[in-house]
């Protein structure tokens, strides 16, 4: 397996570096997405980013700008503040998701492309990333990852206990807006480069595993990033070794690591219970 990973690093260095950067940045943001119960909003944002990118391409504009616009619009619709809620928020999320998915296909096929080509383009493939994609990832996602670490404490406080956050002098609207902006840009950039499935794997599966691994928030951040890195390296190596589709292999590896984390946690909890209940 180490040989396969070395071959990936030698033959696809841009893909490996981009995969690791997006994995870490999205895993850190994803911890807050999962804790804020905004997983489906993340899904809608990824689809809206795909639609925004495709629409921008059709209009001969910068696709990244279109993707960011789509992602931020979806964030505003699904996560923004509301007055009296007449409809469950999930309904809005679902409408944005199916609407963006359908429009992306319609706009994509409207350009004269075959449906299969359009689907392949929309799904993305990490192994095909270019040096330009790597530059975009380095310029956008590395700073976002650094900012996520820096802002983790106020984000956690605001999301954990909004009332106390106000009482101790934090401004929840300000901190949450910063979070949604960074999330919107990160999801848009990552979706354009690696596709929505892998974005969601890093945004949801790795943080969920991180939350299973530890109950202390700095360790949850580290654990989530470690799972994303491990899943990317193992997934790319498996994909190279057995000629499997890269994104699907990394995603499946993430889910397998999550299952392992769940089993390890169960065993650890059982051992702890036995330890505390046994007579000294």
């Amino acid at each position: 397996m180490i040989g396969a990973l070395a071959a990936v690093a030698r033959e696809f260095p841009e893909a490996l570096a981009t995969g690791l950067m997006t994995g870490v940045a999205l895993a850190w943001l994803g911890v807050f997405v999962v804790l804020r119960r905004a997983v489906f909003a993340g899904l809608a944002m990824a689809e809206a980013a795909v639609f925004g990118g495709v629409a921008a391409e059709r209009m001969h504009s910068a696709s990244l700008l279109g993707a960011v616009t789509g992602s931020l619009a979806a964030a505003g619709l699904t996560l923004g503040p509301r007055g009296r809620e007449r409809l469950p928020r999930e309904a809005t999320v679902a409408v944005v998701f199916v609407g963006a998915a359908a429009l992306a296909l319609l706009v994509g096929t409207g350009g004269g492309h075959h449906l299969r080509e359009v689907r392949a383009a929309l799904e993305g493939d990490l192994i095909l990333v270019s040096r330009a994609d790597l530059r975009v990832a380095a310029l956008l996602l590395l700073p976002i990852a650094a900012l996520s670490c820096l802002l983790a404490r106020p984000w956690l406080y605001v999301m954990f206990d909004r009332d106390m956050a106000v009482a101790i002098g934090l401004k929840p609207a300000l901190w949450e807006t910063a979070f949604f902006l960074l999330l919107g840009v990160a999801v848009a950039a990552a979706t354009r480069i690696i596709g929505p499935m892998l974005v969601l794997a890093h945004l949801v599966v790795s943080p969920t595993a991180g939350l299973l691994i530890s109950r202390r928030w700095p360790r949850v951040l580290l654990g989530s990033a470690a799972i994303a890195v491990l899943a990317t390296c193992l997934g790319m190596a498996f994909s190279y070794r057995w000629d499997l589709p890269t994104n699907a292999t990394i995603t499946a590896t993430s889910v397998a690591l999550l299952a392992v984390a769940g089993i390890v946690r169960k065993i650890a909890c059982a051992a702890h219970r036995r330890g505390t209940s046994s007579p000294r």
């Binding site: 802002l151 009332d163 106390m164 106000v166 009482a167 202390r216 360790r219 949850v220």
Partner: protein, 244 residues
């Protein structure tokens, strides 16, 4: 209906009558509070002066928590003004614990450390002295052995003590407590009341606490008031007699 301006963090001018900004922690002047179309409290006037202890009493749903939320800054008044005094740092607030999400990876210790944020801000790490304060409160409230548990692993009483410890480490001059003793055992309640009394009498902090059931022993020579909340109004009387 008029919508009052946002609560100023610090009163910018002295009131025309009564105490000046340096002499009060919070003053409510003709405050109306409500949610959506419903008005919960009308024309509330209340002075929280340094060294004053105010008990908010009344049946469930009468508006005690609403008034506390407005004083902390969580609910803007529909009419009237809420002034925060010049000395008012962020309040030490204990909300009702049902509002908290138990899935968060926050240990008891991390929750109590959250109270330090009011003093150190978002970018600095707590100093060893501040962390010792956290340890001290964990020990005094019997939480030291549970310091690494999350909210989901704590009993109702331990969660209540955690929130109280968090409010106490803020170093706030004004403590706003929403039924702080609702799930406490007698020993922990005694520690909390003792500390609050000490802060009120020695440090001239002020306390505003919603309370159910019999009140603790009065503070000897203390400036204690009872604010009865009911039928949309608040009526303040000094504890032991008189009215206001």
């Amino acid at each position: 209906m008029n919508v009052a301006p946002r609560i100023p963090p610090v009163a910018t001018r002295p009131r025309s009558t009564g105490p000046t900004a340096s002499e009060f922690h919070v003053v409510c002047e003709g405050v109306w509070l409500g949610y959506d179309e419903e008005i919960v409290l009308r024309d509330v006037s209340l002075e929280v002066l340094p060294g004053r202890y105010i008990w908010l009493v009344g049946a469930n749903g009468t508006g005690k928590s609403t008034l506390l939320r407005a004083i902390v800054g969580l609910l803007p008044p529909r009419r009237g003004r809420i002034w925060r005094g010049a000395d008012a740092r962020p309040a030490g607030y204990v909300p009702q614990q049902q509002t908290l999400d138990r899935c968060f990876p926050m240990t008891t210790r991390a929750i109590v450390e959250m109270g330090l944020f009011a003093r150190i801000g978002p970018w600095r790490r707590p100093s060893p002295t501040r962390l010792r304060e956290v340890d001290d409160w964990l020990a005094r409230l019997g939480l030291r052995e549970h310091a690494h548990k999350t909210l989901a692993e704590l009993s109702g009483g331990m969660r209540q003590k955690t929130l109280l410890a968090r409010a106490l480490v803020t170093g706030a001059r004004l403590m706003v407590l929403d039924e702080p003793a609702s799930e406490l055992d007698a020993a922990s309640a005694a520690v909390i009341w003792g500390e609050l009394k000490r802060r009120v009498t020695e440090e001239h902090c002020s306390v505003l606490a919603a309370h159910h059931g019999p009140l603790p022993e009065p503070i000897a020579g203390g400036d204690e008031w009872i604010a009865e909340v009911g039928r949309g109004h608040v009526r303040c009387t000094p504890r032991g007699g008189g009215s206001r």
